[in-house]
Structures are given as structure tokens and as C-alpha cells.
Amino acid sequence: MTTSLSVRRHDQRQRASAPRHHHHALIQQLEPYLLISPTMLVIVGLMVVPIVIVIGYSLMDNVVTNPNPKFVGLANYTAILSEPGFWGAAVNTLFFTVGSVVVHMVIGMVFAMMLNSKSMARVPRAIFRAIYILPWIFTASVVAVLWRLLLDPSGVINYILISLGMVHEAVPWLATPSTALLAVTVINIWSGYPFFMISLLAGLQGVPSDLYEAARVDGAGFFRQFANVTLPALKPILYSMALLDLLWTTQQFTLIWATTGGGPLGMTEMLSTFTYKLAFNAYQFSMAATSAVLVLGASLIVAVFYVRNQRREA
């Protein structure tokens, strides 16, 4: 009632004042543009412009190392799309990204629900929350160095596994073709789940407790409560976090570069490391730009879903 009333009054007022203050209305119309201009200025100047330059590079025969590049149209695109290395990297990136996102979601959910449990006192809750957040606060190159230490053949993880009799001899996890991709994915899972967890924890705290009461009165057990109350309430966050994580994980470079460099046998070559090598190992900056534009295109598809979701929610 009050809402509709105030809106109507507001409308009347505006209608009454509009003819008298014409320039005022103009300012009002321009105001949103004025307010977002700082954002647009930095984003256009420092994001859109470099993107356009990169797209330009991808249409040249070679840049940076070549003083007089020539326009070659889409030749770089056909070249890179027919290269098996590119597709191998794409498949690895897909595994790495989807694996990371799914497990982030599961671990984030389990940890968030444990931390949100009613049967825990305040102090242990705060302690566990602080421990669970730890992996998040380290920069990627440090995470990489740390895990190289842990996963070394004579490192502590192999030592524990041998002591428990789970492996017979030390496994160089990051250097064995069959385990390397899994190993880097685990490292990424470790370093990336806390953000998921915190967002879900925030979401859980926003779920009204009377919903659970109602479900319990209906005789719903833990799993039914989870499926009928928790999951639907968290769906919007899960969806948007998953899409954001998808974008961020696809871009992961430092972690891969500092642990395996894409090897062994190219088993952990991602699109990001593939692109980097094109640029800084082979000095083919145009090809690198082409690969980057393709990644950008794929990422934009994900971004479109994200925007759609944001709009539907709004």
C-alpha cells in the first residue's frame, strides 16, 4: 500500500515539475551516464582498447618481432584451428575447468553446511571457518611452490602414502603423464574452493529458518530438507558462482606454469599456457593473439549466460 502510494505521489510531482525545469530533466536523464562514466572510462581505456588491439594482432602475419606486419585476414585462425596442440590444450582446459568447478561446488557446499550447523558452539565455528579460508589467501605462485614441495617424490604426501601402504614407491605426481592433470586439478581445487564456500555460507545464512521448520513438521529428513529447501534457495548463487568460476578457472595460468609448465607430454597443457608459449617461446605474437581471441570468444558465451541469469534474477 505505502509503496504504491509513494510511487504515485512521486510520479505526480515529477509530471508537475517537468515542464518548468526542462534543463533539470535533461540533467536527470544524463545523470546515470555521468555516474557510470568513471567505470566506463577505465574499462574502455584499459580493457576494451587492448582487446581491440589483440584482435588486430590476430589478423596480421606477425607482430612485435616483425616491424612491418601485413594483413592476412583469417589465415591465423584456420592455421590454429587445424593444429592438434590447440585442441589438446582445449580438452585439457575443459577437464581442468569442469573438474575444478564441480568439486569446488561440492566441497564448498559440504564445508558451508558443516560450518552453518546449529549444533556447533561459536568458538569452534570461528576456528574452523578461519582454517577453511586459509587456502584462499595465498597467491598462485606461492600455492604452486608449496604443492611442488608437498608432491615431490621425497615430499610429505608420498611419505604419508608409503607409510600407510597406499603406494609402493614414491610417485612423482606432477611428472607422471597419467597423474599430472589430476594433480594440478587437485591443487586448483584446494586453492579455489574457499570463495565458493564463503558465498554459499552467506547464502545459507540467508535462508529463513522457518522453511526448515515447516519441512521438519512435514517429516522431511536431512536429505529431503536439503533437496527441497537448501538447494532451491541456493540455486541462484550456485549458478552464478559456477559461471564465474568457469571464467576464472579457464584463465588460470600461473598455477599451471609454476607447477608443470604444461608437461609432461603436454598432459597439462592448457589454453593459457599454450598461448603463453606461442608468444614468449615461439615469438609468434599473432598466433598467440589468435588463440587468445578464440578463448575470449568461448568465454563470452559463458558471460552471456551469466548476464542472462543476472537479468532473470533482477
Binding site: V64, T65, P67, D152, G263, K277, A282, Y283
Partner: protein, 367 residues
Amino acid sequence: MDQFHQQNPNITVKLISAPFQSLQQQTISQAATGTLPDVVGLDGAWVNPLYKQGALLNLSDAMKSANYDPKDLASQVGYSGSTYMIPVVNFVYPLFTNDAILAKAGISKPPTTWSEFEADAKKISQSGSAKGWVVPLSTANPNGVQNDILSWAWASGGSMLKNGQPNLTGNPDVTGAVNLVNDLIQAKAVLPGADGLQETAKVENFINGRVGMMIDSLAHITTITKGNPNLKFSVSAQPVKDGYTGKPGILTASWGIGISAKSKHAADAWKLVQFLMSQSVNSKLSTLANGFPGNSTSTPDFTGSDPHFKQAFAIYQKSTPVNEFVGLPAADQLMTDFLNEFQKVAAGQESTSTMLANVQAAWKQQF
């Protein structure tokens, strides 16, 4: 540096360092935007792209205008008759052996031939917890190709090039080197996880007594003695192919110097280069770095230096310094191509001859 400032009070030199892992990427980016420092330290692997970018000053011209006679320079790196980089300090890569580990395996002196080396590496691996050798083959840093695979061919007078073109297929020296390394990997005589190891792993594992032998830069003597003051070790020449009697080669990495083409103080920059290359300064500089001087008239100053340093100099004088990757186009890419194929051989997916044919084809595209 203080000495240089005293002699040239009008020139101020600011030292700029960067993390090694990213040095190359930074140098190339800086060259692309014209923000390269006036005088740049260079690795042989980057000279080619920087030259193509037009980022390096033609040093032959600089020498001419400064009336400098380059007769004392031990070597110069350049293209079409002009110099673009001058090696200031040369680092050799001898064989390091851990005396205690070798003794435990019943080996009385460091190996001198490939077959001795192979046998010794296997003996060490069977006699205790240490492995015979360490070979870092991570693609994050493909240097293992030059330091630990092709160095075997070079030491025995072999070459991977013929008339400036790749010559790998059917090359007996390169084939032998690849087979030697692969045999040792298959025999589990090297530190496990070679595909994930980087160059730093060599010294770390050597210091900790986990490997008996390594081919490594002489520059690391300080690191070794600091890391484990009680370690007894020897340096010797890299073993050669059985029956090879010619002059041995020794892998040499150079720390070189160039001048930015966009430098506004090219003449002053040249003065600094000249200063660094002068007989006494170059001698001091190289001794400090445990390397050998780029000025052929300078001799290292052995007073107070590590005894291994003197031994290594004796080896250096008897050998020809080699590193065929210096100045090649996209040297890192060449090594990465080689490494990718070599990993297949080590995984048993490919024969040595197929591997060399594939690498040859990949290299042809770069030349």
C-alpha cells in the same frame, strides 16, 4: 660499479634486476614498447628475437665510433656480419660428482666415457638410496635439452647443425646422446620424476646427497658449498663417447650484454660495456660469478677462490666452449619441441629415430 662511477662521474648507472623465471618475458615486452634499459644483460637464447624486433643496437657500429678494437673479445654474437651481443662471463658445465656416494658404490674416479658414466650411474642407484644422475626435463624450462641431453653430443665433438641448418636425423652423436639419457631413465638410474624437474632441482638434490652426479654450471659452486659446507665433491670434464679422442667440447652458457637500440645514451652505454670488458674488471667480474672472462686476455683470479674453480679452468682450457643454441631463432621453442618429443621416447611411445625426424621437421619451420 663504484669504480665505474669514479672514472665516469657524469654517468649514473642504476642496476635493475628481475625474477629469473620472468626475465625473458619482461625483456621481450620491454623491447616491444621501447622501455628496455640502456644496457641489457642477455641470454644467448633471446638475442635472435630481440634482434628481429630491432631492439638491439648494432655494436659493431658502436665499436667503430668509439675506435674500439675488438681483438680481445673472446667471442661475439651477431647477424649478417654485425655484433649485437658480447659475452661478458662464460659459465662452463662440468660433471659434478659426490665423492662419498661414488666411494660407497665402489667407484674410484669420476667417469670419463659414456659407458663408464652409464655403468657408474647404475652402480650408484643400486648401492644405496641415492640415484646416479639428475636430469631435469620440465617443459616449464626446456634448458635441460641443452644442458643435459645435447651437451653429451657436443662434448664428443658432435653437432646438431650442418651449414646452419638442423641436422638431427641419422646424426650418430645426437642419437647416441638421446639413447644414453633414455637408457638411464629406463634403468631408473636417475632421480624419479624427471619430467617435472627444473634446473634448480639439480643443485638441491646434489646438496642433499640424493644424486651422485650432475652436469651443472660452475657458477653453482658457491651455492653448493653454502648449502652443505661438509660435502666433498669433484668436478671433471663431461664424459665423451667411447673411443672419441678429439678435442672435447664443454657446454658454456654466457651472460652477455647488449645495448638498447632506443637508448638515448648509446655512447655512455658503450663506455659501460667497454668498462665491463676491460682486462682487470672483466677478470674480477668473472671470478666473482665463478665464471670465466669474456675478455681473452683476462685470467681468472684464483687467490682465495674455491679449488674446484681452478680445476674447472684447467678443463676449460683443454676444451672447446660450445652452445649451439646461442643466437638461433626461437631457441626456447626449439628446445621445447625437442623436449616434447623426447618425453615420448622416455615414455616408450616413440623410437629415437622417429623422434629425431619429428624434431627435425619442427625445427625446419623455425629456421
